[in-house]
Amino acid sequence: MRVLRRVMRTPSGCFAVGVFALVAGAALVSLVWLPQDPNAASASRLWLPPGAEHWLGTDGSGRDIASRIIAGSRVSLGVALGTGVLASIIGFALALPGGLGNRPVREIVAVSIDVLVAFPTILLAIMLTAVFGSGIPIVIVSLGVAFGVSIGRVLRAELRQVAGADFVLAARVAGLSKFRILVRHLIPSVRPVFVVQLTLSMGTAVLAEASLSYLGFGAPKAIPSWGVMLAETQRYISIYPATVLWPGLAITLLVLAFFLFGDALRDALDVRDPADETAEVTP
């Protein structure tokens, strides 16, 4: 909580928390209420301009754009959260043995991480889609694995460093159990680096989901999502360029919130810039 207050003290931190509240609020409200049915198509109201009934107008099938944007927040937020959870689990599953295990274990994990990191996220998603078909779960699994590996790589290095620190040695000399040292000393020390990496990965996940949905490998067409909306506008951009704005704006705002939150968090927790790492998270 104290960290959150420090994050909120910067303008960019405030902006990020505001966008999160807005998107999360929209996602929750959309479960019980929407201005219009987001999937109700009607030939009698194609390409309506924004107005009182259709706040942002309608698309080429006569569906209400505002309702689709509000409902679409569920997919983007769901992918971000799902990827975040899976990437954290995989990250720690790699980093704990890779950073704290005995020598052969550490080296095996290090080599596996190096090979896996070189494997591009989109290619992994394409492979899994080729085998299992497209869908949001496949998107979450491929993004979670890919970002989990890069989180694992950073955490592993961090754990290796902390494990050799004097205060850990002191704790061991004082007779604390291995588990207690891990929970009370090691994990709290790597937590700042972990949360910063996590927020960056979640922002990148929203971007990657948009790309995958565009390729037809993401959310199915029946579910309103920002990525699919973006893809659907392309055929008509020369006639109705304004409809391109909304889904793209929504994605950019949410991703920007994740990135700025990560930056503010890094300053609040005093973590070094991930741009210093050679392992950038690439979409």
């Binding site: 090979v115 971007l207 391109v244």
Partner: protein
């Protein structure tokens, strides 16, 4: 030095083989019957059996793997199950679009990121420096598809400067037309990836400004700018080289989305189409080739980095 290169090449071979096992395992072992996936569940049992025979699926899994990887090592990637066309020939044809696209994007990435990154670090406390820094965060949050669509609206529909879609049918026989078709795609991905490299260049330059030898140069009466340009930049260049492989890889993979967006007949678009057609053996070979290129770029960058790093000069004959 020779020993370093040999070692790096050995590591490359091991990583590439591991990746091939990973790709093969994902596409073959997990999903039950590949013949059913390729033929579709509606295919007749005869057709499925025929496919299974043609794909060699009746053989033990290890034999299948070694036949595939053996073929790849002889530059024989097999044929597409659907069209019967040679995969290697098609890859080379598609590379004529993807490779120039990637190189052009890389040029844009460097043109954007290097000068702006150094500038933003040098002018860190000024308003302009802050604005450049803030824009880089904004640009890196823009979805590639959206950036491309906005580019099409502004540069193709409104200003009519550049074509919005497609690539000349006769390829590079008219170089200017082909090049024109690649400008907007390369700009789109180059600017976004450039924003990521920008962050890296900026923080490398900030570190250079704090470095002892740059401070020494300043204390000898050089201006801050001169000290940075003459003594700081070589170090910055060195760290940029170390991430260049990663950048090129990101651009190559980014081409998958970009080529779809601009209807360019390149490797990425082919991959997307093949996934739609469930041409699994072709997907498998294409992804292996792309992974190989990415790993090789990484190795190449490591070697170049080692060659140009003056700190490594004395240690050449260990």
């Amino acid at each position: 030095m020779t020993r370093f290169i040999l070692g790096r090449v050995g590591l490359l071979a091991v990583a590439w083989l591991l990746a091939s096992v990973l790709i093969f395992a994902t596409l073959r072992i997990l999903p039950g019957d590949v013949a059913l996936v390729i033929g579709g569940s509606k295919a007749s049992p005869e057709r499925t059996a025929q496919l299974r025979e043609a794909l060699g699926l009746n053989q033990p899994i290890l034999t299948q793997y070694f036949e595939w990887i053996g073929g790849v090592l002889r530059f024989d990637l097999g044929e597409s199950v659907l069209t019967g066309a040679s995969i290697s020939a098609e890859l080379i044809e598609k590379a004529e679009v993807t490779v120039p696209l990637t190189l052009l994007s890389l040029a844009i990435v460097l043109l954007v990121a290097l000068p702006l990154g150094v500038f933003a670090a040098y002018k860190r406390r000024s308003a302009v420096g802050q604005i450049v820094q803030a824009s880089s965060v904004l640009v890196s949050a823009i979805p590639v598809v959206w950036a491309g669509l906005l580019g099409i609206i502004v540069l193709s529909t409104w200003l009519q400067w550049l074509p919005s879609q497609g690539f000349p049918r006769d390829g590079w026989s008219e170089p200017w037309l082909a090049f024109r078709a690649l400008i907007l795609p390369a700009l789109t991905i180059g600017l976004i990836e450039g924003a990521i490299l920008f962050r890296f260049v900026r923080s490398a330059t900030l570190r250079a400004l704090e470095a002892d030898h740059v401070r020494t140069a300043m204390s000898q009466g050089n201006s801050r700018l001169r000290a940075l340009l003459a003594h700081g930049l070589p170090g910055v260049g060195l760290s940029v080289v170390s991430v260049l492989g990663l950048q090129a890889a990101a651009l190559l993979v980014g081409a998958v989305v970009i080529e779809q967006l601009f209807s360019l007949p390149g490797l990425g678009r082919m991959l997307v189409t093949d996934v739609g057609n469930r041409d699994l053996t072709k997907v498998q070979s294409t992804i292996l080739v792309m992974t190989g290129i990415i790993l090789a770029l990484g190795a190449l960058v490591d070697v170049v980095h080692r060659l140009i790093d003056p700190r490594m000069k004395g240690s050449s004959e260990e």
